[in-house]
């Protein structure tokens, strides 16, 4: 059956997808370029009997998500870069409390107040340090409105499965652009039971405690080790990446999100010049598709990481390539977006170099 195609902004499609994935509470705060998420939720949540709340700050919004997640709800907040910094306190606590939730970062350029144009300069923050302490969160990087929609439900399910926060890492371009989108409905979405939740014990069980304070070092170490064993499973089972024209590729571009889309156009143009170039597009940034890149490095002559920042993911590419061939970086920063021609030129130059 032909499913209905809607024409929607990334931000709005994301919000609708969350509702269809069973999210019934949204806690937000306005910030460009993600405000449409909040605006859409303000309109839609009451229609489905859900909660929309505009908090007094990003800090409060993230902590409301902590509360809602602790009570067992499928919940979310969204923001853009400076707001995510404010949310990192709660993100760390939620990781420490093993609480699943969805955090959306529609990135803009930084540091500081930065600009409001699209960027990917929160890669490190998202994959390395979304708060203090030893922890990871799931990071999904869609490259278009349809994939935003498809990843939202998947992010929730994966977050529930491993009891950890998940992030959709988009950017101003993906949030603001409109594309046709189909909502692939699950027949009947049943959310998993959360027997650990603090939702009132109804005098039927022991009291549940959601907590990240562990004062005995040996105990906390054990907790962290157990959490990292779970992370290892995530790394083994949850990696997503797109492989594009890799079969005969000598040069492999690695790019995610909006820059991957632009790089795809550049790869096409370079192919027309006879350059054997392909693209690896990490869809999960954590877990990172290191094995896929390591395998590709056995045959490739060079890698090129294309990002909208000063060079962040390139470090993960280098780690995965492990010195088997050169790894170059091309990026634009500050809200500047690379044009396909620029990338094609860099590919051509790299090809001449390693030929």
């Amino acid at each position: 059956m032909e499913q209905k195609r809607y024409f929607m902004k990334g931000n709005e499609a994301l919000a609708e997808a969350a509702i269809r994935a069973g999210c019934r509470s949204f806690f937000g705060y306005p910030i460009t370029p993600q405000t449409e998420v909040a605006a859409y939720m303000a309109k839609r949540m009451p229609e489905v009997g859900g909660v929309y709340l505009q908090a007094e700050s990003e800090i409060a919004a993230a902590n409301m998500v902590l509360g809602a997640a602790a009570a067992g709800a499928r919940t979310m907040t969204s923001s853009s870069s400076p707001g995510i910094s404010l949310k990192s306190e709660a993100i760390s606590y939620m990781a420490g409390c093993d609480l699943p939730c969805l955090i959306v970062n529609v990135q803009r350029a930084g540091p500081g107040l930065g600009g409001i144009q699209p960027a990917q300069s929160d890669y490190f923050q998202a994959t390395r340090a979304n708060g203090h302490g030893d922890f990871h969160i799931l990071v999904f990087a869609p490259d278009g409105v349809q994939e935003i929609v498809d990843l939202v439900a998947h992010a929730y399910d994966t977050a529930d499965k491993y009891r950890m926060p998940a992030m959709i890492l988009a950017d101003g371009m993906l949030g603001q652009m409109m594309e046709p989108v189909v909502f692939h409905e699950k027949e009947q979405r049943e959310l998993p039971p959360k027997p650990w939740a603090a939702s009132g014990h109804k005098n039927k069980r022991q009291h549940n405690i959601i907590n990240s304070l562990v004062l005995k070092p040996a105990e906390l170490e054990q907790q962290n080790i157990a959490r990292f064993e779970r992370y290892q499973q995530v790394q083994q089972q949850e990696v997503l990446a797109e492989e594009y024209l890799l079969e005969d590729a000598e040069i492999i571009v690695v790019a995610f999100g909006a820059s991957a889309r632009i790089a795809k156009t550049a790869v096409h143009a370079a192919r027309e010049q006879g350059i054997r170039v392909g693209l690896i597009r990490p869809i999960t940034l954590w877990p990172f598709p290191s094995n896929l890149i390591a395998k590709a490095a056995e045959h490739a002559k060079a890698f090129l990481s294309v990002e909208m920042n000063m060079g962040q993911m390139v470090e993960d590419v280098r780690l995965a390539v492990g010195g088997r061939c050169p790894v170059r970086f091309y990026g634009r920063a500050g809200g500047m977006v690379p044009e396909p021609d620029e990338i094609t030129a860099v590919i051509a130059e790299l090809e001449r170099e390693v030929r």
Binding site: R5, F7, T32, P33, I116, Q117, G172, M173, Q176, M177, M178, E179, P180, R261, I262, K264, T265, A266, H268, V337, E339, P340, D341
Partner: protein, 175 residues
């Protein structure tokens, strides 16, 4: 066949809406579509623009660097984007507001703002330009375009639908 458009003008002239109507025809025609707006403070009273791609194939970069069609609704937009237009491309300029370079053979001037005002269709110069654009490019069918206008005019402004059609028709019939 792929078509790439840039719509540009002052905030409030409806360039983003014109882009949406154009993009929506892709939905009707079963094509791949992207619509990418400029955003931020420049929209308020400043310049606004959007890129629209229509294609049978999946669309990579949604930014339009070299449009097949530029719709320029004010001077600054014309100055900024005219030279990016692909060789063989077209520039539809609202000649009420744009000082057109008469030597430029790509230009198709139409005094859209004045025509709209003369017909009691203030604020619909953008739709008038769409009518002209369709006639000159044939990027979609007349029916798809009218359906798209119907889809895009919000329910709260349904009373403006007939005026939109009228503006579209004036642009379409303009010689």
């Amino acid at each position: 066949m792929a078509f790439q458009f840039v719509f540009a003008g002052f905030g409030g002239q409806g360039v983003l809406f014109a882009g949406k109507v154009t993009a929506n025809t892709g939905l009707i025609d079963g094509k791949q579509v992207t619509w990418l707006p400029s955003y931020g403070p420049e929209m308020r009273g400043g310049t606004a623009n959007c890129s629209v791609c229509l294609s049978e194939e999946p669309i990579g970069c949604p930014m339009v660097m070299h449009p097949d069609v530029l719709v320029a609704m004010n001077g600054p937009s014309y100055d900024r984007f005219a030279e990016t237009v692909r060789p063989g491309g077209l520039i539809l300029a609202d000649s009420t507001l744009v000082q057109c370079d008469e030597q430029d053979h790509r230009i198709r001037p139409i005094p859209a703002t004045r025509l709209a005002a003369d017909n009691g269709l203030e604020g619909l110069a953008n739709i008038l330009l769409l009518g002209r654009m369709l006639r000159l490019t044939g990027f979609t069918t007349y029916e798809s375009m009218k359906q798209s206008i119907r889809n895009c005019v919000p329910a709260s402004k349904a009373y403006l639908l007939e005026a939109n059609f009228k503006a579209f028709e004036i642009g379409f019939q303009y010689q």
